[in-house]
Symmetry: C2
Subunit: 325 residues, 2 copies
């Protein structure tokens, strides 16, 4: 099956680390990611630059990314002001984060549920008023959909009700987000089953983190119930790295390896993805990058044959004896 | 559902690291693991002590573990000589590794397929001749079931045929092992579906590694098709650590968290598991321990309520704002 891996590193990754990646380095990384076959990249966040100086150049990055043939350029914006700026820069799609947890919504974007819904309505009105050739898709990611660090458990009924209300307002899709890494596979299956039943074609993808090591396990659960779009971050940068080693976003390299090994088609070339990782590392010297696959190797020789998907010569592992005796 | 987490750290973990854990420290760790609720622990390997000096005290550890009430004491043995020693020490269950890949079998235990099958027959004959109250169960773990670092892809038909032949010889169960971390979730589903169809009640558990970060994802796939026993290693020690950070066995802490969050019953207490981790760390000072959950925290306050399994106060993460805006 064709699976869309939506790369969010240049947004979710870079906004969550301390230093700011230079604009030219960001653009070089986005180009390398596109060359590796990633068809959709979230390249920046249109938020108050005083709050997130790492994202101050979002419009420049969007404009540069727009020149990459075939790439869907995504940007994040929390309100009409940001959506307007993202649309003017030329983003094909704009993701708005909407928290299922009201305390989180207030802490994160300063709005209650009703204020957020009113803002989304204004965004749709604005978007629908744009000329047809410059009308971005509006996607919602429901954050804290699987639980909230502030409010604790979040009602699944409420998450689905919120998704339905957003769909009725005219947004193009509504996905579910687990930015804190609380989701478990059973919960992922339950919530996406309900989301797809409720929203049909407007049901969006999964934004999963790896905080408790369960990121790819949640991907398998979501695949089981028909989810076909997954956010991931190269090198696992960003997210909520509570502590060293506790990665944030699921790692693009590991996700692509798993999906391809399962026989799915991501369109991503693992060798070229390793090249993009080098571009990222050069643009952010000293920043920790995560992922299991990169430690093992991504050289040619990987085989995804249906009946025995075994890397024939896997980097440092080549020729190694199996230890599990 | 009740899931058996079979702790293999004292065997697979300790035999794969350079230093030797003192016998008393091993016993203290096994006791702490049992106190945490682990009902089955593989405590050692009965192999040539010249080849694996870390396991030279296996009989002492088995004898000490036998005194822990309610614990199923497992040991690994590759041949009749080892099985005899394990049985004499009092192991309740003995796991024999049988490679699906013949080159791996020869490299690992010095036997061809036919020689291994003949050895298993001799083991069953020996076991069946023991008095009923001292007759250990014989389990087979088919290693390289998902691919081999030496031979490459392994035929799934052959894995199932081998499992069937082993079952016919009279072993109690046959599980599948991915000691090199090649398995992907689609393959795990296919192979365990066939294993369960072929062997019924003799189909054993899954021994999965996390080499490419896919360990828990493979657990989810195996759960989908009815597997209820999973090997794991506390702190993810052991296995084939090709490189720093590329962990070996799936991490007991992360596995238990995920299973409990999904609503399964492992019988394991995460707080007491953290205590066992401290005992392990004291017994192996300086050795790297892995796992995501331990970085986040395992304090009380974890909630596995069916409709919103959210840790209410999760260690260092408590009160943290969600970053995924």
């Amino acid at each position: 099956m064709s699976i869309l891996v939506s790369e969010v590193g240049p947004r979710d990754g870079l906004q969550s680390i301390r230093r700011t990646m230079p604009t030219e380095a960001k653009i070089a990384w986005v180009r390398a990611l596109a060359t590796a076959g990633l068809r959709e990249i979230e390249v920046g966040s249109f938020v108050n630059p005083k709050r997130l100086p790492q994202m101050a150049d979002a419009a420049d990055v969007v404009r540069a990314a727009r020149k990459i043939p075939g790439l869907t350029v995504l940007a994040l914006a929390p309100n009409l002001r940001g959506v307007r700026a993202a649309a003017e820069a030329g983003a094909h799609k704009i993701t708005m984060p909407v928290s299922a947890s009201e305390p989180h919504s207030i802490a994160n974007i300063g709005m209650t549920h009703e204020q957020v819904l009113a803002e989304v309505a204004r965004v749709i009105e604005y978007r629908d008023g744009l000329p047809a050739d410059g009308r971005p898709a509006i996607e919602i990611g429901i954050s804290t959909a699987f639980g909230c660090t502030i409010a604790g458990p979040v009602s699944e009924d409420w998450v689905i009700e919120l998704a339905a209300r957003l769909a009725e307002l005219g947004v193009d899709s509504v996905g579910l987000s687990d930015g804190v890494g609380y989701a478990n596979p059973a919960q992922v299956k339950r919530l996406f089953t309900r989301l797809i039943a409720e929203l049909g074609g407007k049901a969006g993808g999964a934004h999963l983190h790896n905080t408790r090591g369960q990121g790819l396990a949640n991907v398998v659960a979501a695949l089981e119930v028909g989810v076909t779009t997954f956010d991931a971050s190269q090198g696992g940068i960003g997210g909520c790295p509570y502590s060293p080693g506790a990665t944030g976003n699921i790692v693009t390299e590991d996700l692509v390896w798993m999906l391809e090994a399962m026989g799915h088609d991501t369109g991503v070339d693992l060798g070229k993805l390793a090249e993009a990782r080098r571009v990222l590392a050069e643009g952010l010297p000293g920043e920790a990058l995560y992922g299991h696959l990169p430690d093992v190797g991504t050289e040619k020789g990987f085989s995804y044959a249906a009946r025995g998907p075994v890397p024939e010569g896997t980097g440092r592992a080549a020729g190694a004896r199996e230890c599990a005796a």
